[in-house]
Amino acid sequence: MRYGAPMKALLTSWIFALATLAAAAPVRNGPVAAELVAETRSFAPGQPFTVAVRLALDAPWHAYWTNPGDSGLAPAIEWKLPAGFTAGELQFPYPRAIATPPFMTYGLEGDVWLLATIAPPAEWNEERATLAATVDWLICDEYCVPGSAEVELTLPVGAGPAEPDPAQAAAFAAARARLPADPGGWTFRALRESDRFVLAAVPPADFAGDVPAAEFFPFAEDLIQHNAPQAWGRDGAGYRIELVPADPAAPLPATLSGVLVGPDSWHAGSPHRALRVVAPFSDSEVPPRSANPERNNTP
């Protein structure tokens, strides 16, 4: 006990004041409320921390994933950070396929959290720092409306390591669960089978579940026909999903990359529904299914 009671009370109110400083009000622009939310109540110089660009969309509007599909545009951010601060790329949650025949788009709905890592400089001599950004978005329903907001967030420098904000813990956990996860033992490879791309997905050896359905969302905008049905099914020890190339005559890319979204339970012990897929294309065609019944886990 280094401080007496009056000093303690003063400190408490001071910390409380700093905590409220970290909160920033959402900026509403039409059907979107935008804000910058920090995962921590403070930051420590030289130690990266996470913030979210939160876009709360009124129903029935949707924004777009990094690959928007047949039309649309992903939200973009222009950071205005203090000298020495840097921001990482926005990390997007997995999208939802929105069919408006003959088109297919990949949208983000409801409470959208885009995460970014902020790296403060090792030397920071002020008591706080203000992170600001211009966020641009396109939202569509029957028609489309572009929008923009200026958002900002002020965080104090903590006495030690950055202190997590308990009020935001659940929201950040939920936002992280919607990011594509590392494959965690799943292996992927890509093949061209006549007029189809095939993504072969082999679960880890100890995987006991079943994956009755899954959807693939490619990172590249021009790789597959977004509106074509995707056929998912069992294949030997694993699964395969068939995709229709956008241009069957185009040269094969090096990889078939994107996110594979399955049911809640498929990634044992993990809340993630989306796995990050970077599958190299094999030169050879897929052998007939019956010819390779004992495929093991190595691609």
Partner: protein, 202 residues
Amino acid sequence: MKAKILLPILIAALALGAVQAWAQAAVGAPAPSFTLTDTKGAAHALADFAGKPVVLEWTNPDCPFVKKHYGAKNMQALQAKYVAQGVVWLSVCSSASGKQGHYPADEWNRILAEQGSAATALLLDPDGQVGRAYGAKTTPHLFVVDAAGTLVYDGAIDDNPSTDSADIPGARAYVSEALDAVLAGAPVPVAQTKPYGCSVKY
């Protein structure tokens, strides 16, 4: 007996319909033929313009991406520049009745005057047949047909898929490049790009 003959015909017609329904157009192949009526009531067939390069510009005046290019007078400037060089510029609206961008002809004429459109004509395609034949996905989505009737460009107006008109000057203008090449008798440098904009309101 009648049914026996009719059924294969029906199946063939359905199959043909399915093939024709979406994107017959392919870069390097003859552009799909069509006849559509413009906002002044005149019919235009693609074949009428044989010997001249033709631009097809899918449009919807209420789409923010279209407003980007009309608000900054970029689209009108392109229309005027290339029409002056002998290009036929056809704006096309495939918005279905009741959908965004669908207007009767007289309202369209008011919109075109207000925009200062310098297009040769605006063609009305409310049943979306021509839009589907070309695989028109967005507004704007542009196609360039050379004087021989071959589709030589299919895609975006430029390489900056934003709604901000401030982005126009710094963007790579694919349609200008394609038209300059066609007028010079040179190959189009980039013949296919992903169009950006609002979805066509079929």
